[in-house]
Amino acid sequence: KASGKALVGDTADDSLGVLDSAVEASGLRIMGAKPVNKEAYMNTVREMYYKKIASRLGVRMNKKGKKGRTDRKSGNGDRYSIVNVAGSVIPTFNPAFRVWEYNISGLDVEYQSKDFQSQGWGAFFEELEIKMERDLQEDNIFSGWRRTFSDSRRTDKTIPRKMPSDLALGPAYTPQLFSPTRFIQYYADLASIEKKYKKALKNGLGEEEAAVEAFSYGIEYCSDDQPYAMKSLLTKDYIDLAVKLADNDKLWEKFTERAFISTDYTD
């Protein structure tokens, strides 16, 4: 812990501490699947990420959830990357999975292009092995000296170079081939399935037949559903949503209901 703090210096934030218990309770340790402190965790996500972004962008929301004063625009949100964390099949809440939709238009034309050639990977991986061996060789006195006295970003290959300015933003930031467009969140409402199962048994079906009749996944919600419909799933759409969630309690209630897969979970 101490070394972690030293490494991130004053950027470490003690108020993230509540995450410790939530993360540890999420099944990382020898714990089971029972949800513990998940509401506290979600509140911390709201405080530490969504509200900070809203505050950075200088956005204030009115009571109806519409944007008020905007000092700075979110632009394409290219300083951010989105980490999507999924609901699980294990019934920590209701079982869930997601189907993503993405843009494939124009792909057929690209494939027909004479310029397009798919290359093999054999040579790359042979070379990769040699490069990694070389990079991982023990430091000698000269490389140690170089790392101490020069820009660490040049010698530490686990730190990337900044993206060249002549490269265009990818599918996460501007609409193009492979940009995610929409998702459908599926869930199994276990309480209702159990009722249907019992009813089917009462109606004289055998166990397996009753199970087949009762068990089903349904759509919990889609990304373009109200009350916070997302037109697309670009990073700027997530940043806009984070800003809305920062201040609007009604939207937040819906968001956490979905985070807990339509169970009535509270801490």
């Binding site: 950027t11 990382l28 699947a33 949100g77 990694m132 686990t158 199970a211 169970t263």
Partner: protein, 301 residues
């Protein structure tokens, strides 16, 4: 029509599924306070039903797992292009009377891999690597023994995992996989790749992980691999999804691993589409900030 002479129908859709946690010891009618393994329920919500009860703390019954996969096969299999499957394919180690063993963990993982192969492979082909729908698995912290602890390969465990997933992993990546258990699949050849990242090498709860700043650290070696792969994908003008079990959040990743990983995900924003993770069992998203991570990384030096 693909360059290799084959053809593939694309739907513009893919599935992300995670944390199935099937439990062969699950017994219908037992007590949830005994992990649904035994005992008499003392109240309604304590009762282990056929498909499980939300929030009662039990793992998935085998029925829940089987019917989930069947539902996907019946309803989604022919509508999707590929599957991202981010691990944890065995019960938690929370039953003192039945501690998990290494062989149980690998046996059930192998069974799950076979189920996914059977569901998504081309049934008319004798080639075991010929999938109608590509499957890209990654390893969860419960899929390794001891719990959370996983070292760089080649080891007996990495060999075991390769044996389970051999048909999902491109052959030319076998040696790299033996070392770092990360790999990628070109789900649309020459165009779109899915990276399966061994997040346990960055994970705080893995006792073998301590920062990503020393060359001996598994996280350092993973980031090195990631950098070379991303650069090659960029040079080929390909796009890529990052996937793995433990999400790259500050409280999950050790030391500088979080900030360094965040930098890779953002400085390759010309090709990276996003990140898909499991482990926390909650549906949400977290925007991570490049500027903050640059400050942390340069500050630490």
């Amino acid at each position: 029509h693909l360059p290799n002479g084959k053809s593939k129908t694309l739907h513009g859709r893919f599935l992300h599924i995670t944390d199935i946690h099937p439990d062969p010891l699950y017994e219908v009618g037992s007590s949830a306070s005994e992990m649904c393994h035994r005992g008499k329920p003392d109240r309604k919500n304590d009762f282990a039903t056929k498909f499980g009860v939300a929030m009662n703390g039990c793992d998935s019954s085998m029925e829940l797992m089987e019917h989930t996969l069947k539902w996907i096969y019946d309803n989604l299999r022919d509508e999707i292009d590929f599957v991202v499957w981010t691990g944890d394919n065995i019960r938690h180690d929370n039953d003192r009377k039945n501690p998990r063993t290494e062989s149980q963990i690998f046996d059930l993982n192998a069974q799950m891999a076979q189920k996914f192969e059977k569901m998504f492979r081309n049934p008319n082909s004798i080639d075991p690597r010929n999938f109608d729908v590509d499957v890209v698995p990654s390893l969860g912290n419960n899929d390794v023994f001891p719990h959370n602890l996983f070292s760089l390969g080649p080891t007996l465990q990495t060999r075991e995992i390769y044996n389970m997933w051999g048909n999902f992993i491109p052959q030319e990546q076998q040696r790299a996989f033996a070392r770092g258990t990360s790999f990628f699949v070109e789900v649309i050849p020459g165009k779109l790749a899915i990276l399966s990242i061994q997040t346990l090498y960055l994970y705080k709860a893995n006792p073998l992980v301590d920062t990503c700043d020393s060359k001996k650290e598994p996280g350092y070696q993973l980031l090195l691999w990631l950098g070379y792969v991303l650069e090659e994908l960029r040079s080929r003008n390909m796009k890529v999804w990052l996937t793995g079990h433990v999400p790259p959040l500050e409280k999950n990743y050790d030391g500088n691993c979080f900030h360094k990983f965040t930098l890779w995900t953002n400085e390759y924003r010309d090709i990276i589409i996003g990140g898909l993770y499991g482990h926390m069992n909650m549906d949400h998203f977290v925007p991570v900030d490049r500027k903050r991570s640059w400050k942390a990384v340069t500050g630490s030096k």
